[in-house]
Protein backbone atom coordinates (compact mmCIF):
# COMPACT_ATOMS: atom_id res chain seq x y z
CA UNK A 1 0.00 0.00 0.00
CA UNK A 2 2.61 2.46 1.14
CA UNK A 3 4.63 1.35 -1.76
CA UNK A 4 1.87 2.16 -4.23
CA UNK A 5 1.53 5.64 -2.80
CA UNK A 6 5.24 6.16 -3.00
CA UNK A 7 5.25 5.02 -6.64
CA UNK A 8 2.39 7.35 -7.54
CA UNK A 9 4.13 10.16 -5.68
CA UNK A 10 7.29 9.50 -7.57
CA UNK A 11 5.43 9.43 -10.88
CA UNK A 12 3.65 12.63 -10.03
CA UNK A 13 6.80 14.42 -9.05
CA UNK A 14 8.69 13.24 -12.08
CA UNK A 15 5.93 13.98 -14.57
CA UNK A 16 5.37 17.41 -13.10
CA UNK A 17 1.71 16.51 -12.70
CA UNK A 18 2.03 17.41 -9.05
CA UNK A 19 3.40 20.79 -10.04
CA UNK A 20 0.31 21.53 -12.08
CA UNK A 21 -1.99 20.33 -9.32
CA UNK A 22 -0.16 22.37 -6.68
CA UNK A 23 -0.21 25.41 -8.96
CA UNK A 24 -3.98 25.21 -9.39
CA UNK A 25 -4.78 24.35 -5.75
CA UNK A 26 -2.50 26.94 -4.14
CA UNK A 27 -3.55 29.75 -6.45
CA UNK A 28 -7.21 28.86 -5.85
CA UNK A 29 -6.69 28.67 -2.08
CA UNK A 30 -4.79 31.95 -1.96
CA UNK A 31 -7.45 33.62 -4.06
CA UNK A 32 -10.16 32.32 -1.75
CA UNK A 33 -8.37 33.48 1.39
CA UNK A 34 -7.61 36.86 -0.09
CA UNK A 35 -11.20 37.25 -1.30
CA UNK A 36 -12.54 36.53 2.23
CA UNK A 37 -10.39 39.36 3.60
CA UNK A 38 -11.17 41.27 0.40
CA UNK A 39 -11.98 44.52 2.07
CA UNK A 40 -8.64 44.73 3.88
CA UNK A 41 -6.17 43.89 1.12
CA UNK A 42 -5.20 46.14 -1.73
CA UNK A 43 -4.43 44.74 -5.24
CA UNK A 44 -0.63 45.11 -4.71
CA UNK A 45 -0.66 42.68 -1.79
CA UNK A 46 -2.69 40.25 -3.87
CA UNK A 47 -0.31 40.56 -6.80
CA UNK A 48 2.75 40.02 -4.59
CA UNK A 49 1.18 37.00 -2.89
CA UNK A 50 0.29 35.44 -6.22
CA UNK A 51 3.79 36.20 -7.56
CA UNK A 52 5.22 34.44 -4.54
CA UNK A 53 3.21 31.35 -5.38
CA UNK A 54 4.40 31.46 -9.00
CA UNK A 55 8.02 31.68 -7.82
CA UNK A 56 7.48 28.76 -5.44
CA UNK A 57 5.97 26.56 -8.13
CA UNK A 58 8.71 27.52 -10.59
CA UNK A 59 11.48 26.66 -8.14
CA UNK A 60 9.90 23.38 -7.16
CA UNK A 61 8.55 22.04 -10.47
CA UNK A 62 10.07 24.04 -13.29
CA UNK A 63 8.80 26.27 -16.02
CA UNK A 64 5.63 24.60 -17.32
CA UNK A 65 3.72 24.43 -14.01
CA UNK A 66 5.02 27.97 -13.40
CA UNK A 67 3.42 29.15 -16.65
CA UNK A 68 0.12 27.55 -15.58
CA UNK A 69 0.38 29.21 -12.15
CA UNK A 70 1.11 32.56 -13.82
CA UNK A 71 -1.85 32.35 -16.22
CA UNK A 72 -4.16 31.19 -13.45
CA UNK A 73 -2.83 33.91 -11.14
CA UNK A 74 -3.35 36.52 -13.84
CA UNK A 75 -6.90 35.27 -14.45
CA UNK A 76 -7.80 35.25 -10.75
CA UNK A 77 -6.16 38.64 -10.20
CA UNK A 78 -8.20 40.06 -12.99
CA UNK A 79 -11.45 38.23 -12.16
CA UNK A 80 -11.56 38.72 -8.42
CA UNK A 81 -9.46 41.72 -7.57
CA UNK A 82 -9.55 44.18 -10.44
CA UNK A 83 -12.77 46.15 -10.74
CA UNK A 84 -15.21 45.46 -12.08
CA UNK A 85 -15.08 42.29 -9.92
CA UNK A 86 -16.48 39.03 -11.26
CA UNK A 87 -15.57 39.77 -14.89
CA UNK A 88 -12.50 39.53 -17.03
CA UNK A 89 -12.90 43.06 -18.16
CA UNK A 90 -10.87 45.89 -16.76
CA UNK A 91 -12.39 49.29 -16.37
CA UNK A 92 -9.62 51.58 -15.21
CA UNK A 93 -6.65 52.15 -17.55
CA UNK A 94 -4.25 52.19 -14.54
CA UNK A 95 -5.48 48.70 -13.62
CA UNK A 96 -4.61 47.61 -17.15
CA UNK A 97 -1.05 48.70 -16.45
CA UNK A 98 -1.08 46.83 -13.10
CA UNK A 99 -2.52 43.77 -14.78
CA UNK A 100 0.02 43.73 -17.59
CA UNK A 101 2.89 44.43 -15.18
CA UNK A 102 1.72 41.55 -12.99
CA UNK A 103 1.41 39.25 -15.98
CA UNK A 104 4.88 40.00 -17.32
CA UNK A 105 6.46 39.80 -13.87
CA UNK A 106 4.74 36.51 -13.10
CA UNK A 107 5.77 34.83 -16.34
CA UNK A 108 9.32 36.21 -16.32
CA UNK A 109 9.88 35.36 -12.66
CA UNK A 110 8.49 31.91 -13.29
CA UNK A 111 10.82 31.35 -16.23
CA UNK A 112 13.86 32.74 -14.43
CA UNK A 113 13.42 30.68 -11.31
CA UNK A 114 12.73 27.62 -13.44
CA UNK A 115 15.98 28.24 -15.28
CA UNK A 116 17.82 28.66 -12.00
CA UNK A 117 16.36 25.37 -10.91
CA UNK A 118 17.54 23.71 -14.11
CA UNK A 119 21.01 25.13 -13.64
CA UNK A 120 21.09 23.83 -10.10
CA UNK A 121 20.02 20.43 -11.35
CA UNK A 122 22.68 20.43 -14.02
CA UNK A 123 25.31 21.49 -11.52
CA UNK A 124 24.20 18.70 -9.21
CA UNK A 125 24.36 16.23 -12.07
CA UNK A 126 27.86 17.49 -12.93
CA UNK A 127 28.94 17.14 -9.34
CA UNK A 128 27.63 13.58 -9.18
CA UNK A 129 29.39 12.75 -12.43
CA UNK A 130 32.68 14.13 -11.10
CA UNK A 131 32.21 12.18 -7.90
CA UNK A 132 31.57 9.01 -9.86
CA UNK A 133 34.65 9.58 -12.02
CA UNK A 134 36.71 10.24 -8.93
CA UNK A 135 35.54 7.02 -7.32
CA UNK A 136 36.25 5.09 -10.49
CA UNK A 137 39.71 6.61 -10.72
CA UNK A 138 40.36 5.77 -7.11
CA UNK A 139 39.33 2.17 -7.69
CA UNK A 140 41.66 1.97 -10.68
CA UNK A 141 44.53 3.38 -8.64
CA UNK A 142 43.82 0.94 -5.87
CA UNK A 143 43.82 -1.99 -8.25
CA UNK A 144 47.06 -0.75 -9.81
CA UNK A 145 48.80 -0.44 -6.48
CA UNK A 146 47.55 -3.87 -5.47
CA UNK A 147 49.00 -5.29 -8.67
CA UNK A 148 52.26 -3.50 -7.95
CA UNK A 149 52.37 -4.84 -4.42
CA UNK A 150 51.62 -8.31 -5.72
CA UNK A 151 54.32 -8.02 -8.35
CA UNK A 152 56.79 -6.88 -5.73
CA UNK A 153 55.89 -9.68 -3.38
CA UNK A 154 56.26 -12.14 -6.26
CA UNK A 155 59.68 -10.72 -6.94
CA UNK A 156 60.58 -11.02 -3.28
CA UNK A 157 59.29 -14.56 -3.25
CA UNK A 158 61.45 -15.57 -6.18
CA UNK A 159 64.48 -13.89 -4.59
CA UNK A 160 63.80 -15.86 -1.41
CA UNK A 161 63.37 -19.03 -3.42
CA UNK A 162 66.76 -18.40 -5.04
CA UNK A 163 68.34 -17.93 -1.64
CA UNK A 164 66.73 -21.09 -0.29
CA UNK A 165 67.67 -23.25 -3.25
CA UNK A 166 71.23 -21.95 -3.08
CA UNK A 167 71.44 -22.86 0.59
CA UNK A 168 70.00 -26.30 0.00
CA UNK A 169 72.19 -26.98 -2.99
CA UNK A 170 75.48 -25.92 -1.46
CA UNK A 171 75.69 -28.70 1.14
CA UNK A 172 74.21 -31.12 -1.38
CA UNK A 173 77.03 -30.32 -3.80
CA UNK A 174 79.68 -31.17 -1.21
CA UNK A 175 77.82 -34.34 -0.21
CA UNK A 176 77.43 -35.48 -3.80
CA UNK A 177 81.08 -34.77 -4.62
CA UNK A 178 82.24 -36.70 -1.52
CA UNK A 179 80.02 -39.68 -2.10
CA UNK A 180 80.92 -39.99 -5.77
CA UNK A 181 84.59 -39.80 -4.85
CA UNK A 182 84.12 -42.70 -2.43
CA UNK A 183 81.96 -44.61 -4.94
CA UNK A 184 84.51 -44.02 -7.65
CA UNK A 185 87.13 -45.73 -5.55
CA UNK A 186 84.83 -48.65 -4.74
CA UNK A 187 84.04 -49.10 -8.42
CA UNK A 188 87.70 -48.92 -9.27
CA UNK A 189 87.58 -45.77 -11.33
CA UNK A 190 86.72 -45.56 -14.99
CA UNK A 191 88.37 -47.57 -17.72
CA UNK A 192 90.04 -44.41 -18.92
CA UNK A 193 91.58 -43.56 -15.62
CA UNK A 194 92.08 -46.20 -12.94
CA UNK A 195 91.66 -44.65 -9.54
CA UNK A 196 94.51 -44.18 -7.17
CA UNK A 197 93.23 -45.65 -3.92
CA UNK A 198 92.22 -43.11 -1.31
CA UNK A 199 94.29 -43.19 1.82
CA UNK A 200 92.33 -43.75 5.05
CA UNK A 201 92.77 -40.10 5.96
CA UNK A 202 91.12 -38.93 2.73
CA UNK A 203 88.35 -41.46 3.04
CA UNK A 204 87.66 -40.25 6.54
CA UNK A 205 87.65 -36.67 5.36
CA UNK A 206 85.03 -37.40 2.70
CA UNK A 207 82.81 -39.04 5.27
CA UNK A 208 83.26 -36.17 7.67
CA UNK A 209 82.16 -33.75 4.98
CA UNK A 210 79.07 -35.87 4.33
CA UNK A 211 78.29 -35.97 8.03
CA UNK A 212 78.79 -32.25 8.60
CA UNK A 213 76.93 -31.18 5.51
CA UNK A 214 73.96 -33.43 6.30
CA UNK A 215 73.76 -31.71 9.69
CA UNK A 216 73.96 -28.37 7.94
CA UNK A 217 71.08 -29.29 5.67
CA UNK A 218 69.06 -30.41 8.64
CA UNK A 219 69.77 -27.18 10.54
CA UNK A 220 68.77 -25.19 7.53
CA UNK A 221 65.49 -27.05 7.18
CA UNK A 222 64.82 -26.65 10.92
CA UNK A 223 65.41 -22.91 10.53
CA UNK A 224 63.00 -22.76 7.60
CA UNK A 225 60.32 -24.40 9.69
CA UNK A 226 60.89 -21.96 12.58
CA UNK A 227 60.75 -19.02 10.21
CA UNK A 228 57.58 -20.28 8.57
CA UNK A 229 55.96 -20.62 12.01
CA UNK A 230 56.99 -17.13 13.02
CA UNK A 231 55.69 -15.66 9.80
CA UNK A 232 52.41 -17.48 10.03
CA UNK A 233 52.07 -16.12 13.58
CA UNK A 234 52.10 -19.66 14.90
CA UNK A 235 54.95 -19.21 17.28
CA UNK A 236 53.30 -20.48 20.46
CA UNK A 237 55.30 -19.47 23.46
CA UNK A 238 55.39 -21.64 26.50
CA UNK A 239 55.77 -18.83 28.99
CA UNK A 240 57.00 -19.62 32.46
CA UNK A 241 58.58 -17.61 35.20
CA UNK A 242 62.27 -18.12 34.51
CA UNK A 243 65.57 -16.88 35.83
CA UNK A 244 67.74 -14.96 33.39
CA UNK A 245 70.99 -16.58 34.57
CA UNK A 246 69.55 -20.03 33.87
CA UNK A 247 68.53 -19.03 30.37
CA UNK A 248 72.05 -17.79 29.66
CA UNK A 249 73.76 -20.82 31.13
CA UNK A 250 71.53 -23.15 29.08
CA UNK A 251 72.55 -21.29 25.93
CA UNK A 252 76.23 -21.39 26.86
CA UNK A 253 76.10 -25.10 27.65
CA UNK A 254 74.74 -25.70 24.16
CA UNK A 255 77.41 -23.45 22.67
CA UNK A 256 80.21 -25.18 24.58
CA UNK A 257 81.76 -26.80 21.51
CA UNK A 258 81.89 -23.58 19.54
CA UNK A 259 83.04 -21.33 22.39
CA UNK A 260 86.04 -23.55 23.01
CA UNK A 261 89.18 -21.46 22.83
CA UNK A 262 87.22 -18.24 23.16
CA UNK A 263 86.90 -16.13 26.23
CA UNK A 264 83.28 -15.64 27.23
CA UNK A 265 82.53 -13.08 29.91
CA UNK A 266 79.09 -13.07 31.52
CA UNK A 267 77.84 -10.08 33.53
CA UNK A 268 74.44 -10.55 35.12
CA UNK A 269 73.11 -7.81 37.36
CA UNK A 270 72.51 -9.12 40.86
CA UNK A 271 68.93 -9.58 42.00
CA UNK A 272 67.38 -9.52 38.57
CA UNK A 273 63.67 -10.32 38.77
CA UNK A 274 62.35 -13.48 37.09
CA UNK A 275 60.70 -13.05 33.70
CA UNK A 276 57.68 -14.74 32.16
CA UNK A 277 59.15 -16.02 28.93
CA UNK A 278 59.52 -19.15 26.86
CA UNK A 279 62.83 -20.28 28.33
CA UNK A 280 63.80 -22.46 25.43
CA UNK A 281 63.06 -19.86 22.80
CA UNK A 282 64.95 -17.09 24.62
CA UNK A 283 67.94 -19.34 25.22
CA UNK A 284 67.85 -20.05 21.46
CA UNK A 285 68.11 -16.29 20.89
CA UNK A 286 71.14 -16.06 23.20
CA UNK A 287 72.73 -19.06 21.48
CA UNK A 288 72.23 -17.51 18.04
CA UNK A 289 73.80 -14.25 19.18
CA UNK A 290 76.78 -16.05 20.74
CA UNK A 291 77.22 -18.14 17.58
CA UNK A 292 77.13 -15.02 15.41
CA UNK A 293 79.54 -13.17 17.69
CA UNK A 294 82.03 -16.05 17.36
CA UNK A 295 81.54 -16.33 13.63
CA UNK A 296 82.48 -12.74 12.99
CA UNK A 297 85.22 -12.42 15.59
CA UNK A 298 88.83 -12.93 14.70
CA UNK A 299 90.94 -15.56 16.49
CA UNK A 300 90.43 -15.91 20.19
CA UNK A 301 88.44 -12.73 20.60
CA UNK A 302 86.47 -12.13 23.76
CA UNK A 303 82.68 -12.25 23.85
CA UNK A 304 80.69 -10.45 26.51
CA UNK A 305 77.16 -11.27 27.59
CA UNK A 306 75.37 -8.71 29.73
CA UNK A 307 71.96 -8.93 31.41
CA UNK A 308 70.52 -6.03 33.37
CA UNK A 309 67.29 -4.28 34.21
CA UNK A 310 66.72 -1.14 32.21
CA UNK A 311 66.25 1.88 34.46
CA UNK A 312 64.16 3.59 31.81
CA UNK A 313 61.35 1.10 31.23
CA UNK A 314 61.98 -1.66 33.75
CA UNK A 315 62.47 -4.27 30.99
CA UNK A 316 65.16 -6.92 31.10
CA UNK A 317 67.91 -5.96 28.69
CA UNK A 318 70.34 -8.58 27.40
CA UNK A 319 73.20 -8.05 25.04
CA UNK A 320 75.95 -10.04 23.36
CA UNK A 321 79.04 -8.19 22.31
CA UNK A 322 81.97 -9.19 20.13
CA UNK A 323 85.25 -7.64 19.09
CA UNK A 324 84.88 -8.29 15.39
CA UNK A 325 84.84 -5.90 12.48
CA UNK A 326 81.46 -4.50 13.42
CA UNK A 327 78.49 -4.04 11.14
CA UNK A 328 78.03 -0.94 9.00
CA UNK A 329 75.22 1.29 10.26
CA UNK A 330 73.21 0.89 7.05
CA UNK A 331 73.25 -2.90 7.37
CA UNK A 332 72.13 -2.97 11.00
CA UNK A 333 68.45 -3.31 10.14
CA UNK A 334 68.94 -5.55 7.15
CA UNK A 335 70.80 -8.26 9.03
CA UNK A 336 67.46 -9.13 10.63
CA UNK A 337 65.90 -9.80 7.22
CA UNK A 338 65.63 -13.47 6.48
CA UNK A 339 68.40 -14.90 4.31
CA UNK A 340 70.40 -11.71 4.54
CA UNK A 341 74.07 -12.38 5.14
CA UNK A 342 76.55 -9.66 5.85
CA UNK A 343 79.29 -11.88 4.47
CA UNK A 344 77.57 -12.40 1.16
CA UNK A 345 75.16 -9.53 0.68
CA UNK A 346 77.04 -6.88 2.57
CA UNK A 347 80.59 -5.85 2.19
CA UNK A 348 82.23 -7.80 4.95
CA UNK A 349 84.63 -10.33 3.57
CA UNK A 350 85.49 -13.42 5.48
CA UNK A 351 86.71 -16.81 4.49
CA UNK A 352 84.68 -18.46 7.20
CA UNK A 353 81.58 -20.33 6.20
CA UNK A 354 78.61 -18.02 6.50
CA UNK A 355 75.47 -19.05 8.30
CA UNK A 356 72.03 -19.81 7.00
CA UNK A 357 70.90 -16.19 7.03
CA UNK A 358 68.02 -17.19 9.26
CA UNK A 359 69.42 -17.00 12.81
CA UNK A 360 68.82 -13.31 13.41
CA UNK A 361 65.46 -13.36 11.62
CA UNK A 362 64.33 -16.15 13.95
CA UNK A 363 65.80 -14.36 16.99
CA UNK A 364 63.87 -11.24 16.04
CA UNK A 365 60.67 -13.25 15.64
CA UNK A 366 61.09 -14.79 19.10
CA UNK A 367 61.91 -11.46 20.79
CA UNK A 368 59.00 -9.70 19.14
CA UNK A 369 56.63 -12.50 20.08
CA UNK A 370 57.59 -11.63 23.67
CA UNK A 371 56.76 -7.96 22.98
CA UNK A 372 60.44 -7.14 23.20
CA UNK A 373 62.77 -5.40 20.81
CA UNK A 374 66.09 -6.34 19.24
CA UNK A 375 68.67 -4.09 17.61
CA UNK A 376 72.37 -3.65 16.90
CA UNK A 377 74.78 -1.13 18.37
CA UNK A 378 78.50 -0.57 18.21
CA UNK A 379 80.23 -2.37 21.06
CA UNK A 380 81.87 -0.47 23.88
CA UNK A 381 85.14 0.97 22.74
CA UNK A 382 83.85 1.31 19.17
CA UNK A 383 85.18 -2.02 17.90
CA UNK A 384 82.83 -4.87 17.26
CA UNK A 385 79.11 -5.41 17.40
CA UNK A 386 76.64 -5.47 20.23
CA UNK A 387 73.26 -7.08 19.68
CA UNK A 388 70.76 -5.98 22.32
CA UNK A 389 67.30 -7.28 23.06
CA UNK A 390 64.71 -6.42 25.66
CA UNK A 391 62.08 -8.54 27.35
CA UNK A 392 59.16 -7.28 29.41
CA UNK A 393 58.95 -8.95 32.83
CA UNK A 394 55.50 -10.32 32.03
CA UNK A 395 52.09 -10.07 33.69
CA UNK A 396 50.73 -12.00 36.66
CA UNK A 397 47.36 -12.29 34.90
CA UNK A 398 48.71 -13.86 31.76
CA UNK A 399 49.34 -17.15 33.46
CA UNK A 400 49.48 -20.45 31.66
CA UNK A 401 47.52 -19.14 28.66
CA UNK A 402 49.38 -21.12 26.08
CA UNK A 403 50.53 -23.98 28.21
CA UNK A 404 49.01 -26.52 25.85
CA UNK A 405 50.28 -25.08 22.60
CA UNK A 406 53.35 -26.54 21.02
CA UNK A 407 56.56 -24.75 21.80
CA UNK A 408 58.72 -23.47 18.99
CA UNK A 409 60.91 -26.16 17.53
CA UNK A 410 64.34 -25.16 18.66
CA UNK A 411 66.01 -28.48 19.09
CA UNK A 412 69.65 -28.10 19.92
Amino acid sequence: MGRTIRTVWKALASKRLLGYIVAVVVIAAATAVLKIFGGHVNPTTVALTLLLIVLFVATAWGSKPAVLASLLGVACFNFFFLPPFGTFTIAEPENWIAFIAFMITAITAGQLSARARRRAEEAEKGRREIERLYEELQAVFERASQTEALRRSEKLKSALLDAVTHDLRTPLTSIKASITTLLDEVRGGSHEEPVVALDPESRREMMEVIDEESDRLNRFIGGLIDLARIEAGELHLRRRWSAVDEIISTALARAATITQGHQVEVNIESELPVVRVDERAVSEVVYTLVENALKYSPGIAKIRIIAERSAADGMIRMSVEDQGEGIAVDLRERVFDKFFRATRDGDISTHKPSGTGMGLAIAKGIVEAHEGKIWIESATGGNGTRVVFTLPLGDEELTEESEHSAAVATEP
Binding site: T173, T180, T181, D184, E193, V195, M206, T343, P353
Partner: protein, 234 residues
Protein backbone atom coordinates in the same frame (compact mmCIF):
# COMPACT_ATOMS: atom_id res chain seq x y z
CA UNK B 1 110.35 -32.05 -11.01
CA UNK B 2 106.63 -32.57 -10.68
CA UNK B 3 104.88 -33.58 -13.90
CA UNK B 4 101.39 -33.98 -12.42
CA UNK B 5 98.87 -31.65 -14.06
CA UNK B 6 98.18 -28.70 -11.83
CA UNK B 7 94.58 -27.74 -11.05
CA UNK B 8 93.49 -24.59 -9.29
CA UNK B 9 90.07 -24.82 -7.60
CA UNK B 10 88.42 -21.52 -6.71
CA UNK B 11 85.24 -21.69 -4.62
CA UNK B 12 84.06 -19.86 -1.51
CA UNK B 13 82.52 -23.00 -0.09
CA UNK B 14 85.28 -24.55 2.06
CA UNK B 15 83.65 -27.97 2.30
CA UNK B 16 83.54 -28.27 -1.48
CA UNK B 17 87.17 -27.19 -1.99
CA UNK B 18 88.09 -29.71 0.71
CA UNK B 19 86.35 -32.53 -1.14
CA UNK B 20 87.72 -31.52 -4.53
CA UNK B 21 91.26 -31.21 -3.22
CA UNK B 22 91.14 -34.74 -1.84
CA UNK B 23 89.18 -36.21 -4.74
CA UNK B 24 91.38 -34.71 -7.46
CA UNK B 25 94.61 -35.52 -5.61
CA UNK B 26 93.61 -39.17 -5.54
CA UNK B 27 93.47 -38.99 -9.34
CA UNK B 28 97.08 -37.79 -9.48
CA UNK B 29 96.45 -34.11 -9.93
CA UNK B 30 98.35 -31.47 -8.10
CA UNK B 31 95.67 -29.29 -6.50
CA UNK B 32 95.58 -25.88 -4.91
CA UNK B 33 92.47 -24.10 -3.70
CA UNK B 34 91.39 -20.51 -3.19
CA UNK B 35 88.32 -19.15 -1.40
CA UNK B 36 87.69 -16.10 -3.53
CA UNK B 37 88.44 -14.65 -6.96
CA UNK B 38 91.20 -12.37 -5.80
CA UNK B 39 93.27 -14.99 -4.01
CA UNK B 40 92.45 -17.33 -6.91
CA UNK B 41 94.03 -14.87 -9.29
CA UNK B 42 97.08 -14.51 -7.05
CA UNK B 43 97.56 -18.28 -6.92
CA UNK B 44 97.10 -18.44 -10.69
CA UNK B 45 99.82 -15.86 -11.26
CA UNK B 46 102.29 -17.51 -8.84
CA UNK B 47 101.66 -21.13 -9.60
CA UNK B 48 100.69 -21.30 -13.33
CA UNK B 49 98.15 -24.14 -13.14
CA UNK B 50 97.29 -26.27 -16.18
CA UNK B 51 93.57 -25.92 -15.53
CA UNK B 52 91.28 -23.71 -13.48
CA UNK B 53 87.97 -24.76 -11.92
CA UNK B 54 85.98 -21.83 -10.62
CA UNK B 55 82.68 -21.07 -8.95
CA UNK B 56 80.71 -18.10 -10.28
CA UNK B 57 79.27 -16.35 -7.22
CA UNK B 58 82.14 -15.46 -4.93
CA UNK B 59 83.17 -12.54 -2.73
CA UNK B 60 86.15 -10.40 -3.81
CA UNK B 61 86.16 -10.74 -7.60
CA UNK B 62 83.48 -13.10 -8.84
CA UNK B 63 84.00 -16.04 -11.18
CA UNK B 64 83.15 -14.02 -14.26
CA UNK B 65 85.78 -11.40 -13.52
CA UNK B 66 88.28 -14.11 -12.70
CA UNK B 67 87.64 -15.73 -16.12
CA UNK B 68 88.10 -12.38 -17.81
CA UNK B 69 91.34 -11.63 -16.00
CA UNK B 70 92.81 -15.08 -16.63
CA UNK B 71 91.71 -15.09 -20.27
CA UNK B 72 93.44 -11.75 -20.78
CA UNK B 73 96.80 -13.34 -20.02
CA UNK B 74 96.45 -17.06 -20.65
CA UNK B 75 94.67 -19.69 -22.79
CA UNK B 76 94.55 -22.11 -19.82
CA UNK B 77 91.37 -24.26 -19.82
CA UNK B 78 88.71 -22.94 -17.45
CA UNK B 79 85.82 -25.04 -16.16
CA UNK B 80 82.99 -23.13 -14.53
CA UNK B 81 80.97 -24.56 -11.65
CA UNK B 82 77.45 -23.20 -11.92
CA UNK B 83 74.10 -23.81 -10.30
CA UNK B 84 70.67 -23.84 -11.86
CA UNK B 85 69.51 -20.24 -11.80
CA UNK B 86 72.91 -18.90 -12.82
CA UNK B 87 72.42 -19.60 -16.54
CA UNK B 88 73.03 -16.04 -17.64
CA UNK B 89 76.29 -15.74 -15.75
CA UNK B 90 77.32 -19.13 -17.04
CA UNK B 91 76.72 -18.18 -20.66
CA UNK B 92 78.58 -14.92 -20.05
CA UNK B 93 81.53 -16.88 -18.66
CA UNK B 94 81.52 -19.12 -21.74
CA UNK B 95 81.28 -16.04 -23.98
CA UNK B 96 84.32 -14.60 -22.26
CA UNK B 97 86.23 -17.78 -22.97
CA UNK B 98 85.56 -20.35 -20.30
CA UNK B 99 85.89 -23.81 -21.88
CA UNK B 100 83.22 -25.81 -20.16
CA UNK B 101 80.81 -25.92 -17.28
CA UNK B 102 79.63 -28.43 -14.71
CA UNK B 103 76.29 -27.92 -13.00
CA UNK B 104 76.07 -28.22 -9.22
CA UNK B 105 75.55 -30.66 -7.67
CA UNK B 106 77.80 -32.91 -9.75
CA UNK B 107 79.39 -36.32 -9.43
CA UNK B 108 83.19 -36.42 -9.30
CA UNK B 109 83.35 -38.68 -12.37
CA UNK B 110 81.61 -36.01 -14.47
CA UNK B 111 84.06 -33.35 -13.34
CA UNK B 112 86.99 -35.72 -13.98
CA UNK B 113 85.78 -36.40 -17.52
CA UNK B 114 85.54 -32.67 -18.23
CA UNK B 115 89.00 -32.13 -16.77
CA UNK B 116 90.49 -34.89 -18.95
CA UNK B 117 88.84 -33.50 -22.08
CA UNK B 118 89.98 -29.96 -21.34
CA UNK B 119 93.56 -31.03 -20.61
CA UNK B 120 93.68 -33.15 -23.77
CA UNK B 121 92.64 -30.16 -25.86
CA UNK B 122 95.20 -28.01 -24.14
CA UNK B 123 98.15 -30.28 -25.01
CA UNK B 124 97.31 -30.22 -28.77
CA UNK B 125 100.26 -28.28 -30.11
CA UNK B 126 99.39 -24.81 -31.25
CA UNK B 127 101.56 -23.78 -34.17
CA UNK B 128 102.04 -20.08 -33.88
CA UNK B 129 101.73 -18.05 -37.07
CA UNK B 130 101.64 -20.93 -39.53
CA UNK B 131 98.23 -22.63 -39.83
CA UNK B 132 98.49 -26.38 -40.20
CA UNK B 133 97.20 -27.55 -43.58
CA UNK B 134 95.66 -30.73 -42.23
CA UNK B 135 93.13 -30.87 -39.40
CA UNK B 136 92.49 -34.23 -37.86
CA UNK B 137 90.08 -34.80 -34.97
CA UNK B 138 88.47 -38.16 -34.25
CA UNK B 139 86.49 -39.28 -37.30
CA UNK B 140 87.18 -36.03 -39.14
CA UNK B 141 89.94 -35.20 -41.58
CA UNK B 142 90.06 -31.82 -43.23
CA UNK B 143 92.60 -30.64 -45.76
CA UNK B 144 92.57 -26.89 -45.43
CA UNK B 145 94.30 -26.33 -48.80
CA UNK B 146 92.20 -28.54 -51.04
CA UNK B 147 89.22 -27.98 -48.72
CA UNK B 148 88.35 -31.66 -48.82
CA UNK B 149 86.52 -33.22 -45.87
CA UNK B 150 86.20 -36.84 -44.88
CA UNK B 151 84.16 -38.31 -42.05
CA UNK B 152 85.34 -41.81 -41.33
CA UNK B 153 85.97 -43.04 -44.89
CA UNK B 154 83.17 -40.98 -46.41
CA UNK B 155 84.06 -37.87 -48.38
CA UNK B 156 81.57 -35.01 -48.05
CA UNK B 157 81.04 -31.73 -49.88
CA UNK B 158 80.44 -28.56 -47.94
CA UNK B 159 79.54 -24.99 -48.85
CA UNK B 160 82.17 -22.40 -47.84
CA UNK B 161 80.23 -21.35 -44.70
CA UNK B 162 79.62 -24.97 -43.67
CA UNK B 163 83.33 -25.59 -44.17
CA UNK B 164 84.20 -22.62 -41.93
CA UNK B 165 81.75 -23.81 -39.29
CA UNK B 166 83.15 -27.33 -39.29
CA UNK B 167 86.79 -26.22 -39.07
CA UNK B 168 85.92 -23.79 -36.25
CA UNK B 169 84.15 -26.59 -34.38
CA UNK B 170 87.11 -28.93 -34.94
CA UNK B 171 89.60 -26.40 -33.64
CA UNK B 172 87.51 -26.13 -30.47
CA UNK B 173 86.49 -29.78 -30.20
CA UNK B 174 84.93 -30.76 -26.88
CA UNK B 175 84.53 -27.18 -25.80
CA UNK B 176 81.14 -25.58 -25.20
CA UNK B 177 80.75 -22.85 -27.83
CA UNK B 178 78.03 -20.29 -27.17
CA UNK B 179 75.76 -19.09 -29.96
CA UNK B 180 77.27 -15.66 -29.59
CA UNK B 181 80.83 -16.93 -29.95
CA UNK B 182 80.06 -18.99 -33.04
CA UNK B 183 78.18 -16.15 -34.69
CA UNK B 184 80.97 -13.69 -33.96
CA UNK B 185 83.61 -16.13 -35.31
CA UNK B 186 81.74 -16.98 -38.53
CA UNK B 187 79.71 -13.91 -39.41
CA UNK B 188 81.33 -11.15 -37.38
CA UNK B 189 80.26 -9.00 -34.47
CA UNK B 190 77.13 -7.57 -36.12
CA UNK B 191 75.43 -10.93 -36.21
CA UNK B 192 75.82 -12.10 -32.62
CA UNK B 193 72.05 -11.94 -31.98
CA UNK B 194 71.09 -13.86 -35.16
CA UNK B 195 70.70 -17.34 -33.66
CA UNK B 196 68.53 -18.49 -36.57
CA UNK B 197 71.46 -18.15 -39.04
CA UNK B 198 73.42 -20.51 -36.92
CA UNK B 199 70.56 -22.94 -36.49
CA UNK B 200 70.14 -23.21 -40.27
CA UNK B 201 73.85 -23.85 -40.93
CA UNK B 202 74.21 -26.30 -38.07
CA UNK B 203 71.14 -28.12 -39.41
CA UNK B 204 72.63 -28.32 -42.91
CA UNK B 205 76.01 -29.43 -41.64
CA UNK B 206 74.39 -32.10 -39.52
CA UNK B 207 72.56 -33.50 -42.56
CA UNK B 208 75.91 -33.96 -44.28
CA UNK B 209 78.06 -35.32 -41.45
CA UNK B 210 75.69 -37.12 -39.11
CA UNK B 211 74.40 -40.59 -39.94
CA UNK B 212 71.09 -39.59 -38.37
CA UNK B 213 70.59 -35.84 -38.26
CA UNK B 214 67.69 -36.11 -35.82
CA UNK B 215 69.90 -37.70 -33.16
CA UNK B 216 73.20 -35.93 -33.73
CA UNK B 217 76.33 -37.48 -32.27
CA UNK B 218 78.97 -35.07 -33.56
CA UNK B 219 77.44 -31.64 -33.14
CA UNK B 220 75.74 -31.75 -29.77
CA UNK B 221 73.24 -29.14 -28.68
CA UNK B 222 73.74 -27.50 -25.28
CA UNK B 223 70.22 -26.21 -24.70
CA UNK B 224 69.98 -22.41 -24.42
CA UNK B 225 73.77 -22.10 -24.56
CA UNK B 226 75.26 -23.29 -27.83
CA UNK B 227 76.96 -26.36 -29.29
CA UNK B 228 79.70 -28.78 -28.41
CA UNK B 229 81.63 -30.66 -31.09
CA UNK B 230 82.42 -34.26 -30.34
CA UNK B 231 84.80 -35.47 -33.08
CA UNK B 232 84.65 -39.17 -32.28
CA UNK B 233 81.08 -40.32 -31.91
CA UNK B 234 80.93 -43.34 -29.66
Amino acid sequence: MNDKPRILVVDDEPQLTRVLRTGLKSHSYDVRTAADGLSGLETFNDWHPDLVITDLAMPNLNGLELCRKIRAVSPVPIIVLSAKGEERTKVEALDIGADDFVTKPFGIEELLARIRAALRRAVTPVVNGVEPTLLQEGDFRVDLESRSVTVGDREIHLTPKEFDLLTYLMKHAGKVLTHRRLLAALWGGNYVEQNEYLRVFVGNLRKKIETDATTPRYILTEPWIGYRFNPSAE
